[in-house]
């Protein structure tokens, strides 16, 4: 009960103070009826992304009365400056450029919004996500993958050989890199796949996928769901409550995302060698549940490797002499560096590219095998068992006094008996679920340090262990 009350007050606080960009929790709202906004009563979603054509003054005023932020969404097209100016006339709080805009267009639109002291959100091409100091207050991309388990290919022949795990489509890998490169709030505006039934579990996976690594999905319901919700159909309302519950869960725990990545494996990667692509080395390591700390080129300095024991250098030719020396010093201090073969180079991603090409996957496979051989069964922070349908993210302060493990289930079924082997001794462990009250777990000693068992996991969980 206490936990629920705290959650309520926390959400209420978020709603009332939702003016800072980092506090905005986005949802796409393809409607213009002020009355329909009652659907959001009690929801943690506090920022509506409304297509420019559907905006009207009555709607924005009604939204403001409910403490909701309204952003106009502009798709690629002519006359962006005029369109942005027009949206300001109906009282929006900012604008979102979603799509493949030319640099000049984004610059012009941003100038108009800045001049009006309105928020500018860039949801452009993934390969051009602004990561520098001059980046907008909120960055992101429209080019996300729809998260979930990649279904078995029915066209394949039956095999006598039962091979490896199904691949999980995720945005977590490239978002890990983004988090290491910038502290800007990050939004992902992927839309439900067309011509397919999207069940509740898939929405929950899409929320949890970026949230696990500090990003936010722009909650986007398919047209049928959205319409049923506005008509207040029982099932639609019930499903939307679950969506709100999961969004609220990650928001309540958002302060944990201030913690840096934890773990002893560093991956030196950057935009030029595919760190923004799905299916990259970061995704491959993520699937193996090895805790990883991405190190962008600009951060290749001694302190970035303080907690690391191993490092993967995906593209050694891309590092200048000074940065190569940092890695040499790391090995001299006892660290292990896995370097890609001589002459090996990831091609610079194409502008429209969001997933590694099959040829690139073949190349990455060489590195992947080496990474596997190097990490083996070693515990580089945490080892997780019975998590083939899940992905995880480990965070924690450098002193190791506390570790946080996010777990997200990408299957449509709850998973039971998850075993967590933490590196080092931890005396206290608590698991937090969206669907249940937090539970203190009994920890036991094992060869790695401490172990805890999580009975069941439905959509997501956060494990916090303290020394």
């Amino acid at each position: 009960m206490r936990a629920r009350l705290l959650a309520f007050f926390y959400l209420a606080t978020i709603l009332l103070a939702a003016t800072k960009p980092e506090d905005l929790i986005p949802m796409r709202w393809p409607g213009s009826d002020p009355e329909a906004l009652s659907t959001l009563d009690g929801s943690p979603l506090n920022c509506l992304l409304v297509p420019e054509a559907q905006l009207n003054k009555a709607f924005t005023e009604a939204a403001h009365r409910k403490q909701l932020t309204v952003l106009a969404v502009f798709a690629h097209g002519d006359g962006i400056v005029a369109r942005v100016r027009k949206s300001l006339e109906v009282g929006v709080d900012g604008g979102v450029l979603e799509g493949n805009f030319a640099e000049a267009e984004t610059k012009a639109a941003r100038q108009v919004l800045d001049a009006a002291s309105k928020l500018y959100v860039d949801l452009g091409v993934r390969g051009r996500i602004p990561l520098g100091e001059d980046a907008p207050a909120i960055i992101g991309t429209f080019q996300g993958v729809w998260a979930g388990i990649n279904p078995h290919d029915e066209k394949e022949e039956a095999h006598a050989a039962p091979s490896g795990a199904p691949w999980i489509d995720t945005n977590a890998g490239f978002l890990r890199f983004v988090r290491s490169a910038t502290t800007r709030p990050f939004w992902l505006s992927a839309v439900p796949p067309p011509k397919s039934v999207v069940n509740l579990a898939r929405y929950l996976q899409m929320i949890a996928d970026p949230a696990m690594v500090g990003g936010r999905w722009v909650v986007t319901l398919d047209e049928g769901f959205f319409n049923r919700l506005l008509l207040k159909e029982t099932k639609a309302i019930k499903d939307f409550k679950r969506i709100n519950q999961l969004v609220g869960f990650f928001e309540q725990n958002r302060k944990l995302q201030m913690l840096p990545p934890y773990g002893q494996l560093a991956v030196v990667a950057d935009v030029l060698n595919g760190a923004l692509l799905s299916g990259s080395v970061l995704d491959m390591i993520t699937v193996k549940h090895t805790p990883v700390r991405p190190v962008p080129f600009k951060s290749v300095e001694p302190k970035s490797f303080n907690q690391a024991k191993m490092a993967v250098n995906v593209d050694p030719l891309a590092l200048d002499e000074a940065k190569q020396k940092v890695l040499k010093d790391f090995t001299r201090a006892g660290g292990t560096v896995l370097t890609a073969p001589p002459g090996w180079r990831m091609p610079v991603p194409r502008e429209d590219q969001i997933v590694t090409d099959p040829e690139e996957v073949k190349k990455l496979d060489q590195i992947w095998k080496e990474v596997n051989a190097m990490t083996g069964r070693r515990n580089l922070g945490v080892r997780l068992f019975n998590v083939s349908s899940m992905l995880s993210n480990m965070l924690g302060p450098p002193d190791g006094s506390r570790v946080v493990v996010y777990l997200v289930n990408y299957s449509d079924f709850p998973v039971d008996t998850i075993v967590v082997h933490l590196l080092g001794k931890f005396s206290k462990a608590t698991v937090y679920w969206p669907e249940r009250a937090p539970k203190t777990l009994a920890s036991y000693d094992n060869e790695d340090g401490s172990g805890v068992d999580i009975d069941i996991l439905e959509s997501a969980a956060i494990l916090i262990a303290e020394k």
């Binding site: 039956a158 006598a160 083939s388 998850i418």
Partner: protein
């Protein structure tokens, strides 16, 4: 069917008439859920077979589990134990029961898919309560027999009692030779290549991938195997590592439907089964795991709830009853389901002298086959 197949299989009834084949009773139960007291159920089933104590007291019991395929591969996302793996609740109950019956040591073995890593970790990855298992009996051990490692230091040569169909014997992890009582805990399933996979086919997994795997060394074992046994066993494209006995006749068909039923019997003949258990409470039809799809031998797979348990002390009689419970004729010859593509391993087991596949010569206790039968795909 080749001339050689025809001669082999047509000789089976004749051979059966010439010498009395071993038989043993088989206990069957209707059991609809995994929420039962399996300690009590198994205890009663063993009592019907003459009691467990005399079989296992002061003995080392080795339990071959069925953990086929990567734990990451789930059928429709379901728990592995309700589709194609041995169910952990059965294993926990069996462990406690064996301990109470006086077993000196209980060893769980499996050649885990694509790894020679610790079996306990593979089981953790499968969602098994490993810590509970270790405390369910006095001495419980786990060993991945895909290679050496753990407490196993060498391989043992175990020869097929009938001389072998394909292999005259096998180099197996020494744990199999240091076993007093061998138990096979299997699942009631179809098999894409062998038609059925019950207690005998389960034993194929005893063969170490270090020697019989696709990436086995030419001369010596590869103690870090990462693949299955398709090239050596299913397709016969290469021989096992030379420390093992080579095939008897490399000119025999390089056809998995010919080879795999025979190799499975060769393994059982080399490492005989003393206790055969088959879980058919929930399972999958149409194949042995989720990697089998609509293009498989049974044109599709599904999750079903036959609600059956089968236990015996002779693997041939136990599998014969299991096959009949699946709705198939245990004596069906090649061409008739479930052996529509392969040879019938039950008849091959008869030919090897391991037991009878004649239902008329098997005492079934605990229920009637016709009352309990659950029809699997393509059954009559």
């Amino acid at each position: 069917m080749t001339r050689r197949d025809w001669i082999t299989l047509s000789a089976v009834p004749l051979l059966g008439q010439q010498k009395a084949l071993p038989t043993a009773p088989v206990s069957v139960r209707k059991c609809d859920t995994y929420n039962e007291d399996f300690f009590e159920i198994f205890s009663k089933m063993f009592d019907e077979l003459g009691g467990l104590g005399k079989l296992v007291r002061n003995k080392t019991v080795t339990i071959k589990l069925n953990l086929t395929g990567s734990p990451a591969l789930r059928f429709q996302g379901k728990a592995l134990g309700v589709t194609h793996y041995t169910h952990p609740k059965h294993v926990l109950a069996m462990t406690a029961l064996l301990d109470r019956a006086g077993a000196k040591r209980i060893r769980f073995v499996e050649s885990a898919w694509g790894t020679a890593g610790p079996l306990a970790e593979y089981m953790l990855d499968s969602g098994w309560p490993v810590r509970q298992m270790t405390t369910a009996a006095k001495q419980v051990e786990f060993l991945n027999t895909n290679g050496l490692g753990g407490f196993a230091k060498r391989y043992s040569r175990m020869k097929a009692s009938h001389g072998g169909f394909i292999f005259p014997g096998f180099e197996l992890n020494e744990v199999y030779s240091e076993t007093d009582v061998m138990m096979s805990m299997a699942k009631l399933k179809n098999h894409d290549t062998c038609g059925i996979t019950l207690s005998m086919k389960n034993m194929f997994g005893c063969t170490p991938a270090s020697i019989y795997g696709d990436d086995a060394g030419v001369d010596d074992p590869n103690e870090s195997p990462t693949s299955g046994r398709g090239a050596v066993c299913h397709a016969g494209k290469r021989q096992p590592a030379k420390i093992a006995m080579a095939e008897l006749d490399p000119s025999t068909p390089r056809d998995a439907f010919h080879r795999m039923p025979r190799i499975s019997i060769d393994v059982v003949s080399s490492r005989p089964i003393d206790i055969a258990f088959i879980d058919g409470i929930e399972t999958m039809t149409g194949g042995e795991g989720p990697w089998i799809n609509a293009k498989g031998s049974f044109s599709g797979t599904s999750h079903v709830k036959p609600g059956l348990l089968v236990l015996g002390t002779n693997p041939v009689t136990t599998d014969t009853v299991g096959t009949a419970l699946m709705g198939y004729d245990p004596r069906a010859t090649k061409g008739t389901p479930p052996f529509h593509k392969c040879d019938n391993m039950l008849l091959l087991a008869e030919q090897a002298g391991l037991g009878t596949a004649d239902l008329n010569k098997i005492e079934v206790i605990g229920g009637k086959i016709e009352d309990l039968r659950f029809r699997f795909p393509m059954s009559a």
